[in-house]
C-alpha cells in the first residue's frame, strides 16, 4: 500500500498531487464529533464484549473512521448505504442511534433488529442503511441492485456500496461491476483497504494490490484515496458522487486505511507487528489529525474540544447503560418476522 500521508498536516494532497480542499470550521468540528463517537462506541463495544455482554462475532472499526464520515458528507436524502459486517461505524455515520446499535450488540429487545440480527445484521430504512451483511462480498450485488432501483425510478440518488480488500477478490464483485457499468448504475464502490483480510495481508491474497484498478477491464474509473484523511475522502467522494448522479455509471474509490484492532474480537493479531500498528496510530490517526488542525487553526479551543469529548463519552455511556439493562426480546419474537 502507498502509505498514507505522514503526520498531521494542514495542507493535505491527494495521491495524484491535487490539493485537498480544507474543511470549514463546522465541517471539521462535525467530522471530529462523529469520528470520535464511532471511536468511543467501538472502544465501549470492545469492553462490553470482554465482559460477556456481547456475543458472537464483533468486528471493530477503530482506525477507519475517516472513511465513513467523509463519504457520508457527500450523500443527499434518499441515497443508500450498504456494507459488510464491520458495520458499526457506518450505522453511526448514517445517523442511527448508538443506543439502538449497542442494544442490538447485546441482543436486546430495543436493538435495531429486535435482537435478532446482532453485530453483523442491522438495518435502518429511515436512515437509508441497508445493512449490515455477514457474507463477504454479498453486499456488492445488493448495493448494485439498490442503485438499479434508483435508475429504474429515475431519481438522482446514488448507493454507496462498501466492501473490504478481502471481498475485492470475490467473483460476485466482478459480476456486479460488469452489470453496473453496462447499465450505468449510480453506485460508488468504496473499497476499504485496511491491508488485511482477516489475517492475510493483501500482498499475500491479491495479484493486483492496487484495488482502484480492479474496474479497468469494465471501464469503471477508480482512484486511491488517503482514507485516513477525512478531507481527502470527502473530496474523492464528491467527485465520484457527481459522476454517478450525472448518469455516467459506477465509480470505484479505494480507501487506504487501517484497522487498529484485530479482525474480530477473537483475533490474536499475530500476522502484523506491534510497531506497524503503533506507527499508524501515532502518525496517521484520522481523529488526531482533525484535532490537530482544529487547534492549529484555532477553530476551537482545547476546552471546547473537551466539551465535545465529554458529550460523546456521555452519549456512549448512556448507550451502554441502555443496552445492558434493556430486556431480552420476548420469547414470542422467535416466530415473528419470518414472513410478512
Amino acid at each position: 500500500m502507498a502509505s498514507p500521508k505522514k503526520a498531521p498536516s494542514a495542507d493535505a494532497k491527494a495521491f495524484d498531487g491535487r490539493p485537498v480542499p480544507d474543511f470549514s470550521k463546522d465541517e471539521e468540528l462535525a467530522a471530529y464529533r462523529t469520528m470520535l463517537t464511532i471511536r468511543r462506541f467501538e472502544e465501549k463495544a470492545g469492553q462490553m464484549y470482554g465482559m460477556g455482554l456481547i456475543g458472537g462475532f464483533c468486528h471493530l472499526y477503530i482506525g477507519q473512521e475517516a472513511v465513513v464520515v467523509g463519504m457520508q458528507l457527500v450523500l443527499k436524502p434518499g441515497d443508500e448505504v450498504i456494507t459488510g459486517y464491520r458495520d458499526h461505524g457506518h450505522m453511526i455515520a448514517t445517523g442511527m442511534e448508538p443506543k439502538g446499535v449497542m442494544a442490538e450488540l447485546t441482543g436486546r429487545a430495543h436493538g435495531y433488529s429486535k435482537g435478532k440480527g446482532g453485530s453483523m445484521h442491522m438495518f435502518s430504512v429511515e436512515k437509508g442503511f441497508y445493512g449490515g451483511h455477514g457474507i463477504v462480498g454479498a453486499p456488492v450485488p445488493l448495493g448494485t441492485g439498490l442503485a438499479f432501483a434508483n435508475k429504474y425510478r429515475g431519481n438522482k440518488n446514488i448507493c454507496l456500496t462498501y466492501f473490504g480488500d478481502g471481498a475485492a477478490n470475490q467473483g460476485q464483485v466482478y459480476e456486479s461491476f460488469n452489470m453496473a457499468e453496462l447499465w450505468k448504475l449510480p453506485v460508488v464502490y468504496v473499497i476499504e483497504n485496511n491491508r488485511y483480510a482477516m489475517g492475510t495481508a493483501i500482498t499475500r491474497s491479491s495479484a493486483e494490490t492496487n484495488l482502484s484498478r480492479r474496474g479497468i477491464s469494465f471501464n469503471i474509473p477508480g482512484e486511491q484515496v488517503d482514507g485516513m484523511d477525512v478531507r481527502a475522502v470527502k473530496a474523492a467522494g464528491e467527485k465520484a458522487a457527481e459522476w454517478c448522479r450525472a448518469g455516467k455509471g459506477p465509480y470505484i474509490l479505494e480507501m487506504l486505511t487501517y484497522r487498529y484492532r484485530g479482525h474480530s474480537m477473537s483475533d490474536p493479531a499475530k500476522y502484523r507487528t506491534r510497531e506497524e500498528v503503533d506507527e499508524v496510530r501515532t502518525h496517521h490517526d484520522p481523529i488526531d489529525m482533525v484535532r490537530h488542525r482544529i487547534l492549529e487553526k484555532k477553530l476551537a479551543t482545547e476546552d471546547a474540544l473537551k466539551k465535545i469529548d465529554t458529550a460523546v463519552r456521555d452519549l456512549i455511556n448512556d448507550a451502554a447503560e441502555f443496552a445492558t439493562h434493556d430486556p431480552e426480546p420476548d420469547a414470542g419474537e422467535l416466530y415473528t418476522d419470518v414472513y410478512r
Binding site: 443508500e80 450498504i82 436493538g111 435495531y112 433488529s113 429486535k114 435482537g115 435478532k116 440480527g117 445484521h121 442491522m122 438495518f123 435502518s124 430504512v125 441497508y130 445493512g131 449490515g132 451483511h133 455477514g134 457474507i135 454479498a138 456488492v140 450485488p141 445488493l142 448495493g143 448494485t144 441492485g145 439498490l146 442503485a147 438499479f148 432501483a149 434508483n150 429504474y152 467473483g171 460476485q172 466482478y174 459480476e175 456486479s176 460488469n178 452489470m179 453496462l182 415473528t336 418476522d337 419470518v338 414472513y339 410478512r340
Partner: protein, 465 residues
C-alpha cells in the same frame, strides 16, 4: 440412393413441430448447408439445412403442415444421376400412408438407424376446473402453461410498475423457453432486462432492488444454474426480514424450469423442491397445470416475501383450461384434490402429478380408488389437506422426481406419522428419483426417474394388494 430429410428436434423435449415454409422447391439444386425449410414449435423457430448435395427430389410434407412428428421424412434429396423414379424406394410420407388406410406396413428401417427420440412423459390430464377457488360456471380457455405464465407476468406488470423481469435471454431472444415471449415489445427494455450469464450477481442485484421496494421477477434459465445464486437467495433474500426485526423485506420471485427435462444429464436435471422448501423465509410453489401456473404466479408476484416458483420444461408446452377471469389469483399454500378417492392418498406436484394421475386411472381399473392431491405449494405446505385425506384413506404414497433422502416425501411421511399415526393402515410409501446423478442414456434416465408403474406398485403395496 435418395437421402431422406427428417423432421429435426429443436430441443430434447420436442416431439412434434410445424413445417412453416419450404425455401426450395422440387427440382432445385441444393448443396450441404443450404437452408431448405423452416420449422417451428411454440418454443422456437429453426432452419432446416440440407445435409447432402443433390436435387430436391420430392417434398413429402407440404408447408403449413402442423404437428409433424420428429423424425418424419419431410423431403427426399436425389444425388447426382438419380432421377425421381428412385424415390419409390424411399419411405412413403406419413400423410400418404394415412391416406392409404392400409394395415400398418412394416416401416423400412433407414440405412443408418436413428435412435428413437426419447419420449417425454405424458402430460398430466390435470384440469383445474374442480378447484374450489374458481367460481362455478367460469368460462375456461385452453392454453399452454408457457402462455399462462407469460400472461400472469404481463398482467402483473400492467398492474404494478414496480414489477419487472430480468434474466438471461428474457428480452430480445424472447426467453430461452419462450416464457417471456412478447414482454419486451409490450413493456420495453427498462422492464424486461437481459442479464449477463452471472446468476450470483444478478440474483443479488435483484434482491437489492427488492430491498429498495421494487418487485423483481428473476428468471433462471433453469434452476440448475441457481445453485450459483444460492447464497443470495438463502442468506440475503430469505433472511433479511428476520435479521432486520421486520424492518426490511424482499418481495421477489425467482422462477424457471426445475427438475429433469429429457436427456440433458446430471448437471441439467435436478429437482430442487426439497432444497428450497427447507428454508424459513422462502415460499415454494410448483404447479402442474396452466391454471395453477397462472393463478399462483400472479399470487407469487404480489406476495411480499421471496417466492421460489418451480416450473417444468416438459410441462411448458402442455395445454389445459384456464379460467377466463380479469384477475385470476390463487391462494398460496393450498393443495387441491385433483382426483377424489377413498382407498389410498397419492400426494404429488408439478411433473409428479403426471405419474400420479396415470397411476390412479390404472388403479381404478384394478378396483383401487386413489385420491390424488396436487400439493401446488411446497412451502408453506398444506398439511391439513394431506391429513384430512389420509384420515379417510388410511394409506399414503408420495411421488417426486427428487432424491429420497431428505426429500419432500420424507417430510410428508413425517407429518402423516406425527398427525395421523392412528389412522394409518400401512407405512407411507415414497416414490422418488433414484439415488444417482441423472444418467444420459435414454434407458438409464427412464430408470432413474419415478414411473407410473412404481406409483401403482407402491399404491398396491400400501393397500396390501
Amino acid at each position: 440412393m435418395p437421402t431422406e430429410v427428417l423432421m429435426p428436434a429443436l430441443s430434447p423435449t420436442m416431439e412434434k413441430g410445424n413445417l412453416s415454409k419450404w425455401l426450395k422447391k422440387e427440382g432445385d439444386k441444393v448443396k450441404s448447408g443450404d437452408v431448405i425449410a423452416e420449422i417451428e414449435t411454440d418454443k422456437a423457430t429453426m432452419e432446416v439445412e440440407a445435409v447432402d448435395e443433390g436435387t430436391l427430389g420430392k417434398i413429402l410434407v407440404p408447408e403449413g403442415t402442423a404437428d409433424v412428428a420428429v423424425n418424419t421424412p419431410i423431403a427426399v434429396i436425389l444425388s447426382e444421376g438419380e432421377d425421381k423414379g428412385a424415390i419409390k424406394d424411399a419411405r412413403p410420407s406419413p400423410l400418404e400412408k394415412a391416406a392409404e388406410s392400409a394395415p400398418p406396413a412394416k416401416a423400412e428401417k433407414p440405412a443408418a438407424p436413428v435412435p428413437p427420440q426419447p419420449k417425454a412423459p405424458e402430460a398430466p390430464a390435470v384440469h383445474a376446473a374442480s378447484d374450489p377457488d374458481i367460481p362455478e360456471g367460469t368460462e375456461m380457455v385452453t392454453m399452454t402453461m408457457r402462455e399462462a405464465l407469460r400472461d400472469a407476468m404481463a398482467e402483473e406488470m400492467r398492474r404494478d410498475k414496480d414489477v419487472f423481469v430480468m434474466g438471461e435471454e428474457v428480452a430480445e431472444y424472447q426467453g430461452a423457453y419462450k416464457v417471456t415471449q412478447g414482454l419486451l415489445q409490450q413493456f420495453g427494455a427498462g422492464r424486461v432486462i437481459d442479464t449477463p450469464i452471472t446468476e450470483h450477481g444478478f440474483a443479488g442485484l435483484g434482491v437489492g432492488a427488492a430491498l429498495a421496494g421494487l418487485k423483481p421477477i428473476v428468471e433462471f434459465m433453469t434452476f440448475n444454474f441457481a445453485m450459483q445464486a444460492m447464497d443470495q437467495i438463502v442468506n440475503s433474500a430469505a433472511k433479511t426480514l428476520y435479521m432486520s426485526g421486520g424492518q426490511m423485506g424482499c418481495q421477489i420471485v425467482f422462477r424457471g424450469p426445475n427438475g429433469a427435462a429429457a436427456r440433458v444429464a446430471a448437471q441439467h436435471s435436478q429437482d430442487y423442491s426439497s432444497w428450497y422448501s427447507h428454508i424459513p423465509g422462502l415460499k415454494v410453489i410448483a404447479p402442474s397445470n396452466a391454471a395453477d401456473a397462472k393463478g399462483l404466479l400472479k399470487a407469487a408476484i404480489r406476495d411480499p416475501n421471496p417466492v421460489i416458483f418451480l416450473e417444468n420444461e416438459i410441462l411448458y408446452g402442455h395445454s389445459s383450461p384456464v379460467p377466463k377471469l380479469d384477475d385470476f389469483v390463487l391462494p398460496i399454500g393450498k393443495a387441491r384434490i385433483a382426483r377424489p378417492g377413498n382407498d389410498v392418498t397419492i400426494v404429488a406436484w408439478s411433473m409428479g402429478m403426471s405419474y400420479a394421475l396415470q397411476a390412479a386411472e390404472q388403479l381404478a381399473k384394478e378396483g383401487i380408488d386413489a385420491e390424488v392431491i396436487d400439493l401446488r405449494t411446497l412451502k408453506p405446505m398444506d398439511v391439513d389437506s394431506i391429513i384430512a385425506s389420509v384420515q379417510k384413506t388410511g394409506r399414503a404414497v408420495t411421488v417426486e422426481e427428487g432424491w429420497k433422502q431428505s426429500g419432500v416425501g420424507a417430510e410428508i411421511a413425517a407429518q402423516i406419522m406425527e398427525l395421523a399415526f392412528d389412522y394409518l393402515d400401512a407405512p407411507v410409501a415414497r416414490v422418488t428419483g433414484k439415488d444417482v446423478p441423472m444418467p444420459y442414456a435414454a434407458n438409464l434416465e427412464k430408470l432413474a426417474l419415478p414411473s407410473v408403474a412404481e406409483v401403482i406398485e407402491a399404491a398396491k403395496a400400501v393397500c396390501y394388494r
